[in-house]
């Protein structure tokens, strides 16, 4: 790309922009290694987002001191905030890198942007973390509609507009991890492989650790999504069993950060409260209605 025309920038920018800005990134070579900060210097351009900054860093191949630096590893795919890949902690707050605009970030801190990996998941490298626990949580709550088969049996159940309008926002959850990163009740589960442990043994141990740890707002909300579906509801008791089991709905401390940081504005706290209500009924039924 050719250098941007400065006169155009001045059309929209409220404040004069710097010639260049620093990006400080918390890097880690591999799990178990100690993290280190590395600073990069990026020439300013209008309309940059964090993804394009990371692309520039990869192409530059050197840090702010001019020393060779391997490209920062990060996750991304759609760059439109629908795939959920590029979650990271930017200037102290968890969000999607694709929709984090440099111009906005520089308004908060004029010369520097700080990038860190999410703190609630094991770091694989640099900004890449392992969010396997979130997908395992979806399995725990049986986040699916249990249809008999994929043959032609006509349409699904009819659904009131109001019901669809309740379900649709919940169904926009992209398992990005913002909610659990900001949740003070969600704590990191990181296991290291023991000597002599096979893949499947390690996997089983990991699953067990996941299965007693907090489900998190995303999975709770998915359980409610499927309890709301006429067919999905037929499996509601199994979902309630997971929601009232170890690491279930009871771990929620109502800090409500989840709903504040959700990039899709999903009413997670409503889902949590509804899960609480369903759990109340389910528990009473289970105790008295045997």
């Amino acid at each position: 790309m050719i250098a941007p025309s400065k006169d155009h920038v001045s059309t929209y920018a409220e404040a004069p922009k710097p010639e260049a800005f620093d990006v400080r990134i918390l890097r880690q070579d591999a799990p178990g290694e100690s993290p280190k900060w590395e600073r990069f210097r990026i020439p300013y351009e209008p309309n940059l987002n964090i993804i394009s900054v990371l692309m520039k860093i990869a192409a530059m191949g050197k840090n702010a001191q001019g020393k060779p630096a391997p490209p920062v590893a990060w996750d991304s795919n759609c760059l439109e905030e629908v795939c959920g890949s590029c979650t990271m902690v930017i200037n102290g707050r968890v969000r999607q890198a694709c929709s984090a605009l440099v111009d906005r970030l520089l308004e908060d801190r004029p010369t520097e942007i700080e990038l860190r990996p999410m703190s609630k998941f094991p770091v694989l490298r640099d900004l890449v973390v392992d969010r396997g626990r979130m997908f395992r949580a979806l399995e725990r709550v049986k986040a699916w509609v249990p249809v008999d088969d994929y043959l032609d049996r006509g349409p699904g159940p009819r659904e009131a507009q109001a019901k669809q309008e309740t379900r649709y926002p919940l169904s926009e959850c992209m398992t990005c991890g913002c909610c659990v990163e900001a949740c003070p009740q969600y704590t990191k589960v990181e296991l290291t492989r023991e000597p002599g442990e096979t893949d499947s043994q390690f996997e089983a141990r990991r699953k067990q650790a996941f299965d007693t740890a907090f489900l998190g707002p995303a999975a709770i909300s998915q359980a409610i999504l499927f309890n709301d579906h006429a067919t999905g509801q037929m499996q509601a008791d199994e979902r309630m069993e997971a929601l009232t089991g170890p690491g279930g709905i009871q771990v929620c401390g109502n800090a409500q950060n989840c709903v504040a940081v959700c990039p899709k504005s999903i009413p997670l706290t409503t889902s949590i409260a509804r899960a609480g209500r369903q759990a109340t009924v389910y528990a009473i039924k289970k105790i008295f209605d045997r």
Binding site: G92, Q208, G245
Partner: protein, 274 residues
Amino acid sequence: MADSSATPALPFLVRHEFLIRRLHSLSGLIPVGAFMCVHLLVNSSVLNSPETFQNNVYGIHALGKLLPIVEWVFIFIPLLFHMAVGIMIAAGGMPNTQAYPYGANIRYTLQRATGIIAAVFIMYHVFHMHGWFHFDGWLSMAESVGGHKFRPYNASSTAGAALQNPVILVLYAIGIIASVFHLANGLWTMGITWGVWTRPAAQKNALVVCSAFGVLLGIVGLSALAGMYNVGKGEAYQAAIEAENRMYEARVEAGSVQPNEHKRIEERGTRSEE
């Protein structure tokens, strides 16, 4: 799933996490929160007159020998359970108000902070006024280190006298504010936990109601504290003792109260300030 059969049984606290958390939530309202409301309201009756308060205390002590059982079953045990589980919950969280300074998150952190403050305060408060246990040896030991100051048949005067130390008075004010916040905010989170208010609008309205309740109860609590303090000081103190003694003697005479010197100020009928 195939691997679940091979996994070892989970610890008791993990297996019953849901039930324990729900009992914790429930115990915060009933009986602990409800008791606190009654307690503060009864205490604030001292604002009317020491006699009013003394009457209320006689009402409570009408249970006689059953009183310690009722205290332990309906107050102390639930309270200790609520504290123990609460401390575990607080230890399991990682407050992050610096990164996410949102209202509900700040209240989340405050709920844990006030819970701990309230726990420390209440442990001390029961020791300071009540003494926890009714064994004579224990009580005299407690008394020798500044505990067991309250005498039910000299209710206002002993309570008031015990509050004359400014450090203790401030401690009580902090303790009352922390406990009231913890109850009011706990009521709000409880509504979410049990699914009473689910939508944001309902939660917002509930927050207004719970806040109003907290402010009112806080006023009641602090007024009671001020009332007690005032009764424990100077002429009011002497007047209170006299009134209490009159009431005691009249009741003993009428046979509605068994004489019990343990529940009265010993010997001189006056206590030096600490």
